[in-house]
Amino acid sequence: MRNIGRKLNRIIVALAAVSASAGAAAQAQTIAIQNARVYTMAGENAGRVDNGDVIIRDGVIAAIGQDLTAPEGATIINAEGRIVTPGVFAVWSQIGLAEIGLDEEANDASSKDGFDISAGLNAADAFNPASTLIAINRAGGVTRAVAAPEPGAKMFGGKGAIVNLSGRADSLVRADAVQSVAMGAPGLGYNGGTRLGNWAALREALDEARAYAANPSGFIMRPRADDWSISDLKALVPVAQGAQPLFVTANSVVDLRTLIKVKAQYGLNVIVLGGNEAHLIANELAAANIPVVIDPLMNLPSQFEDLAATQKNAAKLNAAGVTIAFFNPPSGSHNLRLLPQLAGNAVANGLPYDEALKALTVNPARMLGVAGRYGTLELGKAADVVIWDGDPLETSTRPIAVLIDGRVTSLKNRQTMLRDRYKDLSRGALPTAYRGAE
């Protein structure tokens, strides 16, 4: 299916040199990617430009077109016809918060029962750019993500951040960017075990946040239920005012319709997380301008709230005009690099190819209100760029270069180092522990 030829090796060698020099320079260099099939994700056909060039300067896209003249001193990368896209944007993850799922000390993704603060938790306080997940997923073409705590002790998850996957100290781009709440089955445990309780509790919290916002000092003085801490209410103020996106886990038609009502009633900015039955009311969701983040593989009646789950979900939502993006709870933050596989499955089940690429790149940026900066390759936007060695959605395709903010990043990571350490199992002069740790 693939032929990793000598040409590819040449590009990799060239990039390694670029990467090494980039490490030394604080400023991103000027780079010209030439002879690529570029999907800018702006305009018709996902903005496809064949034989296209991309000029990157000062971390942003400086020019896109055919037969561009590379600026003097630019590092030139000949893509040799390969596909170039914006980096994959993971719209929902716990990256940088969870290193090992089942290891409490290495998992800050959600708090345990009994802890009082929920919406007020802030991913920015614990996001770890040195997490191994970052380099590993970057090597899979993921350049940007939401890093958000998940609902744990209470129904709200906490303040999520938008981060890049450069691994640099400044990779947390925007703190306090999103909030999340568990409705549907994930919410039942918090709210008396019913969906009625879920919605009543959400309304209650939003009302409290509004009351707090109207008169903070007066609110603190008055007697009140102690369900929500002041830090929770503070965190919920921008949500209640519709200024901050709220991820809402919901799958059933019933919950989705109630969400449409609650959104209208409070003027919320909501993003559905789950939406397994969303395709059944795709038109209503489109009319309500509610984007939906789905796992496009879901096709089993896993719970009673997703009896109508189908792999056609992506195609049907898209056809109705709903903005979609992908997530995959089973593989979670460790395998954000599998987002293209999800997209490929959606294509195999009817989603147009261009729309699948958008769901990986520009749609998340739109949902989060950052499309002015991320998600497309357009002049002045962040140069998050991936050169793929084949169709980005194919099982066998891997990135050969990943740029974040115009910098060529390293594709080396803990997994590639383990691979290289063990690829020759013959007994050497020293134990394997002496190999390939540099």
Binding site: M1, R2, I4, E99, I100, G101, L102, D103, A106, L133, V253, E277, H279, L280, L297, M298, N299, L300, P301, S302, Q303, F304, L307, A308, A309, T310, Q311, K312, P330, S331, G332, H334, N335, R337, L338, Q341, G344, N345, V347, A348, N349, L393, E394, T395, S396, T397, R398, Q415, T416, L418, R419, Y422, K423, L425, T432
Partner: protein, 517 residues
Amino acid sequence: MRIRIYAAATLAAIFAAAGCGQKEAASNDTANEASSEAAAADDKAPAGENKPGAQAKPSRWAADPFPSTYEPYPSVTTLIRGATVLTGAGERIDNGSVLIENGKIAGVGGADLAAPEGANVIDANGKWVTPGVIDIHSHLGDYPSPSTASTSDGNEATAPNTAQVWAEHSVWPQDAGFTRALAGGVTSLQILPGSANLFGGRTAILKNVPSRTVQGMKFPGAPYGLKMACGENPKRFYADKGGPSTRMGNFAGYRAAWIEAAAYKKKWEKYWDELDDWNSKSGAGDKNKKDGGEAKEPEAPTRDLKLETLAMALSGDITVNMHCYRADEMAQVIDMSREFGYKVSTFHHGVEAYKIADILAENGICAAVWADWWGFKLEAYDAIRENAAMIDAQPGSCTIIHSDDEYGIQRLNQEAGKAVGDGAHMGLEIPPERAIEWITLNPAKAMRIADRTGSLEAGKMADVVIWDRNPFSIYAKTEKVFIDGALLYDASDPARSPRMDFEIGQQGNGFVGGSGQ
């Protein structure tokens, strides 16, 4: 509450197993299927006889109290031609043909393979044809959809050794997951108990053909497997319940059980020797002679289901399936298997198999792995994407891609495709005709059903998948799935898409996407 339910189920199993009139104990439903199953009697060789290389002594453990009542559905003589055929036995045939007759593979060849008079001919130009996909690690039916407390039947997590439980007694044949797996080309699968325990219990090998009863799905004549687990899971489940709480505790637990099982095995073997001796002296079962005052008929030891399963693992009648992530633990398990004289068939989940791929190959042990799952627990931290390719690179190796997941089982082809891609990126070129073995012949070998299925070879079960393109592509979909020659899934024909009881009459009817998706 839950424990009481489990205990009741176990008692029922003991009574059923202890009874001689197995079919009388079965429900009416089962009896109906059982009666028609006589036709397939030749498929029902005792487990021990399926092993490659005849045994000196036929196994006497091979009681089969819940016998398979599976009977193939009608097969139409069919010639698939013009396809790229991956035989599963290492061959790729471009413009190839596969002939299905009487539920068996009647021929595999090139364009010159002739269609018998009246055969249904499928022009599969541009399509790919492979053996049915086999998943060696599934929990369909014992962790079914919907996933509720009521249906959670996969882990008898009440003691670290529950070798006495049998996965088939938890399998709910109405799990919709079977139908989705079918649409993914899966024709046979092994259902395992979960991994909470050192000894989880017996596995069940099924044909992926919907049935009212589990017996109606059981792969005729397939040997049982034993599920065992290394590492974190038993530690986590039993640390506060009397142990084990450490890996050394795990090993002490395995070894104590093997010692007991060896003694149990010896006791039965002694009994059988005495019985043979008595039979020969008193005239081969001639009951009348017993009254002649000669030696008394030896008394059979009391059966113990737990020790029986373990003894059968020691005697090789049951395959050993060891859930083990870490390389160092796998190496110690191999030594333990030598200590007690049994053989590990497969290490399941071996995320660190690449570190000891040479040792696994030397010992003839298969490694069943995911393509890229990692990091959900510390023992899965060292997973690498090249694991399967690096296992495969060892001479004599046995690489298997498994799912352990109701979604992963629907696309084992994609999982293999990813692993092939990562192999290629490190210079290990694995051609499709070899990669297909990871999800067909190799699991069949590990489950000891490779003499019946797992490859497209004359005489084997006609378990065949027609894909719309190279199955390792992300866009590949199955078009037709044959099991024992019967067309049981057809993407273009809703009448050839099963719907489970749970799904019908529901919103979406379980098939909003159509054709099993």
